[in-house]
């Protein structure tokens, strides 16, 4: 029983990271129909900028806030300088642009920072809690709590604030939003900033556990994308569900089946799920209009 619990802890911690990356995907996808393969770079920036600023003598909380700001600015720049000018390009063309952007950001990071691995101190110590024979690090609770806080925060933002509703409206129907007087371009830019900031928060939360370096982004983008599709793209709840499920599948796959093939097991599950639910677990089901 202890091992089941241990696998759960592991899966949820890792899954929370995937969920945050998938959330970033979802926010940008909803606002602009772009699948942003540079999403992983925001996570990298969150970790690396914090590490670099802290190393330069800045207090850790200030460095963390600054890193979130940097990632948000990069998100805005991505939208304004790369996505917006390419409006009307094919969806695959836009994907290629975001991949170009991720190569570019990574290239800058390896020059500005370095190619070493770095860590941040855990927020509240490294002494694991023991729960029914399994153990969990305090930082894992921070990651899970942080993820929950972001999900709740996003919900409040989209449902309760005027600007959040404007973003949601842009996501739901761009033309109608524009007709209602919403500046949809600004809302898209805001979405990119938001996705950047969430990515950076994820990076700061997990760096004490997973460590970071200039090239952690690619794999995170891939896993986050997979998580988003598993849940059903465009649905924030699906992103979180997909992320947590992916983490759990990996943990249980590694624990019970084969650690060498755990990523493969995850993809097999995704394939099977998609065969049964071609739009993800809780994706939009719209009948085709002809």
């Amino acid at each position: 029983m202890a091992e089941v619990l241990q696998f759960c802890f592991s899966g949820l911690t890792v899954g929370a990271v995937y969920a945050l990356v998938a959330l970033g995907f979802t926010i940008i996808y909803n606002a602009s129909d772009v699948v942003n393969f540079a999403q992983g770079e925001f996570v990298m920036l969150g970790g690396m900028v914090t590490v670099a600023l802290a190393a330069a003598g800045m207090p850790l909380p200030v460095a963390a806030v600054a890193a979130v700001g940097v990632a948000a600015v990069v998100g805005v720049a991505l939208h304004r300088l790369a996505i917006e000018p390419a409006r009307g390009a094919s969806p695959v063309g836009l994907i290629i642009i975001t991949i170009g952007a991720s190569i570019f950001i990574r290239g800058i990071a390896q020059v500005v920072f370095d190619k070493q691995f770095h860590k941040l101190p855990a927020f509240s110590g490294d002494t694991p809690f023991a729960v029914l024979g399994a153990t969990i690090l305090p930082q894992s609770l921070w990651v899970l709590g942080g993820t929950a806080a972001i999900v709740v925060g996003l919900h409040v933002f989209f449902e309760r604030t005027l600007i959040g509703k404007a973003v949601a409206a842009t996501a739901a129907n761009r033309l109608a939003a524009r007709l209602a007087g919403i500046n949809t371009t600004s809302m898209m830019t805001l979405s990119f900033a938001l996705a950047g900031a969430i990515g950076a928060v994820a990076g700061i939360l997990v760096t004490p556990i997973t460590l970071t370096s200039y090239n952690v982004g690619t794999l995170l983008a891939l896993k986050g994308f997979a998580a988003g599709m598993l849940g059903g793209i465009g649905n924030p709840l699906g992103a979180v569900l997909g992320g947590l499920m992916l983490g759990l599948i990996e943990a249980f796959g590694a624990g019970y089946l084969s650690s060498a093939y755990k990523d493969g097991i995850a993809f097999v599950v995704i394939l099977v799920v998609l065969f049964a639910f071609p739009r993800g677990l809780i994706g939009k089901r719209s009948a085709e209009r002809v």
Partner: protein, 314 residues
């Protein structure tokens, strides 16, 4: 002018001309090698363009088939004593069979869901190649026995320049023929509207599957060619990054344009060679160039260029 530019003979003629003329200016084997790598990548890209450009589908895992072709000529001769020529066809057969089997369920998915499913397929192939070290040599890779023809071992870049160039010409000719046939029209039709295509009598599922299998065969052949040319192969050949690179070739060159796929392959293979002088700034430059090309030449290089020429011509 437009007729001339869009004629398949123009594309094919230009390609032959370039392949024939380049050796006149090549000072050393290095250039033959780079050009041969361009031709080999272009073969895979031209095939992928049939699936992505003609049929409008997406595959983020196509390097998986590239890997199958590469490992077929590595494992077959070394572990089973099979003839390398036979193994090329074995690779093609395996790739086609796998594409056919997996394609039927996968190709019901659309857009980004198809993207993640194909990505998963490619990922699984690369994972097996990396993990089954007994057969594949694992992540360190494995040596590939050279191809022999009448007792001579084919390994010089010049030799492979001509082999891959010839193969590309053939692959291009076949792709262009396909484009201008009932099957090609069916693929391009379902690209624009699956429902209208179906109501025109096109078996949409079957034609998507055909395009997928054809693209897998092209990739497998290209993979075999690369493995035999390099004499060495690692599972990275089947990896996600290689898949992305193939897609980028098709898209940057101009999705739907066979000539574009070749130009895209040329650009993405030679760029790292050119950018090598920037040393640590290489990645920055590469990312920037990809973005700039896609932002300013939205349709890709060849279609954009073609439009400009047509617009300027009287």
């Amino acid at each position: 002018m437009r007729a001339l530019l869009s004629s398949r003979w123009t594309t094919l003629g230009l390609l032959c001309l370039v392949i024939a003329a380049l050796p006149l200016v090549f000072p050393s084997g290095y250039y033959y090698r780079v050009a041969a790598l361009v031709w080999i990548s272009a073969i895979a890209a031209v095939g992928l363009n049939i699936f992505m450009g003609y049929a409008g589908q997406v595959s983020l895992g196509h390097a998986g088939f590239f890997g199958i072709g590469a490992y077929a000529v590595a494992i077959g001769p070394a572990r089973f004593g099979l003839n390398s020529w036979l193994c090329i066809f074995l690779g093609v057969f395996l790739s086609a069979a796998l594409a056919w089997l997996v394609g039927r369920p996968i190709l019901r998915l659309r857009g980004h869901y198809l993207a993640i499913a194909t990505l998963g397929l490619g990922f699984l192939i690369a994972l097996v190649l990396a993990n089954e070290a007994r057969w594949t040599g694992g992540p360190d890779g494995t040596a590939v026995p050279r191809l022999t023809i009448a007792g001579a071992r084919l390994m010089e870049p010049v030799t492979w320049y001509w082999i891959s160039g010839g193969l590309l010409t053939l692959g291009t000719a076949l792709a262009l023929n396909l484009e201008n046939s009932a099957v090609g029209r069916a693929l391009r039709a379902l690209h624009d509207s699956e429902i209208a295509a179906a109501l025109a009598g096109i078996d949409v599922a079957r034609h998507k599957l055909r395009a997928f299998v054809i693209a897998a065969v092209y990739a497998s052949l290209a993979g075999s060619a690369l493995a035999l040319f390099d004499g060495f192969i690692t599972p990275d050949a089947a990896g996600f990054l290689r898949s992305i690179e193939l897609v980028a070739m098709v898209v940057v060159g101009g999705i739907g344009s066979t000539a574009g796929s070749i130009v895209g392959a040329g650009l993405l293979v030679t760029l790292p060679q050119i950018l090598a002088v920037f040393v640590e700034y290489e990645q920055i430059a590469l990312g920037l160039i990809i973005m700039v090309v896609m932002i300013f030449l939205r349709r890709g290089i060849v279609p954009s260029a073609r439009r400009l020429i047509v617009r300027r011509a009287p």
